[in-house]
């Protein structure tokens, strides 16, 4: 695959699926510097994955796989950055600050941050409305296991939302 072709596909994917990438970034990184770092890492991995994409799954599923894998790996590394990456982080790829239009969304992200890295992935996929089959493909586990995890997380989130409703 030619570089220009790869870049063209990448730019198309980025404009179409950036919201998905932003969600992963916000679910795994809290502060702006970390969000920059993780976003850079995800975009590089997505760019690298383009020649490997054979169209056997939907692009959304593919980007979710790459994005979530990268985010889990990024958390594990605990941001071991080298000098080049630090310099790049100063380039500010993401511009702007998050101004939440709804406080409940901030609350939801806070709750997601309390989960471990695996459950965060499941929660993101669940909230985005992916099917069990798609989730099973992305996570590499059985649909039964997906169902069990979703039930537990759903109960947990709904339970905590009751506290939010009462303002506690």
């Amino acid at each position: 695959m030619k570089d220009s072709e790869q870049t063209q596909i990448f730019e198309k994917w980025l404009s179409r699926y950036k919201a998905l990438m932003f969600k992963i970034v916000r679910a795994y990184a809290r502060v702006s510097e970390d969000q920059q770092d993780l976003f850079q890492e995800i975009t590089v991995q997505v760019w690298r994955s383009i020649p490997l994409f054979k169209g056997e799954s939907a692009v959304t599923t593919w980007i979710y796989r790459i994005g979530l894998n990268t985010a889990i790996k990024w958390i594990r590394k605990e941001r071991r950055q080298d000098e080049i990456e630090r310099a790049t982080a100063r380039d500010q790829i993401l511009v702007g600050n998050i101004v939440e239009s709804d406080d409940r969304l901030s609350w939801l992200y806070d709750e997601i941050h309390k989960l471990d890295e695996i459950d965060r992935s499941v929660t993101l996929l669940m909230l985005d409305g992916l099917s069990y089959k798609e989730m099973s493909t992305i996570l590499g586990i059985t649909e039964t296991n997906v169902g069990v995890k979703i039930n537990r997380i759903k109960k947990q989130l709904i339970g905590k939302s009751k506290n939010y409703d009462y303002g506690t």
Binding site: A19, I72, N145, I158
Partner: protein
């Protein structure tokens, strides 16, 4: 709130962009990353191969062309070349396994665990490899009638290398354990269901 309401809240962000992307900065970043493909494990493996190969070859050649040649020096040189060959075969085995894993989160974790297992194995072997190298070096010095102080100093040096390589080995062990724990957490409910 019920799940549907949570989903509605979640989808609120689809209509707004929390960030703007600086495309120029991102393209620069991708270009830089393209040029930087080697990972730490690659570097340490390659170093191990090159250093052992170079040192082994150097030892053999020096011994051959600077008489009187010593038998233990030959053995030491051959041992180092053997170590380089072993590390090379280990590396070939590891890289040929890389394509066996799918791109799911489980596949990625399986691959990470497999790489960590490789690191643990290699670091253990290389740690114990210090023992025959220390023994051969001591025999070479003994044969060359070096002073007790010199022999003692080199044994102390090898003991330090053995101690610190054990320390490094434990870092790899705990990294591997953390990865296995994460993978078990992903599979956990599968086992109980």
């Amino acid at each position: 709130m019920e799940l549907e309401e949570l989903k509605n809240i979640w989808h609120l962000q689809d209509k707004q962009d929390p960030f703007t992307i600086n495309m120029q900065a991102m393209n620069n970043h991708i270009q830089r990353k393209k040029e930087k493909a080697l990972h730490l494990i690659n570097i340490s493996e390659l170093l191990l191969i090159v250093v052992n190969f170079g040192a082994g070859l150097f030892t053999i050649l020096v011994n051959k062309f600077r008489p009187p040649s010593e038998m233990f020096l030959y053995v030491l040189g051959v041992w180092m070349l053997g170590t380089a060959l072993y590390a090379l075969l280990f590396r070939i085995k590891r890289t040929s396994n890389a394509n066996k894993f799918d791109r799911s989160i489980r596949g990625d974790l399986d691959y990470a665990v497999s790489t960590a297992t490789h690191q643990v194995k290699l670091s253990r072997i290389m740690r114990w490899n210090v023992v025959p190298i220390a023994l051969l070096t001591t025999l070479v010095m003994w044969d060359g009638q070096k002073s007790i102080l010199f022999v003692g100093g080199s044994i102390f040096f090898f003991a330090l290398a053995f101690y610190f390589s054990g320390w490094e080995h434990n870092i790899y062990l705990s990294k591997k354990a953390a990865l296995e724990k994460l993978r078990n957490r992903l599979l956990q409910e599968d086992l109980s269901s």
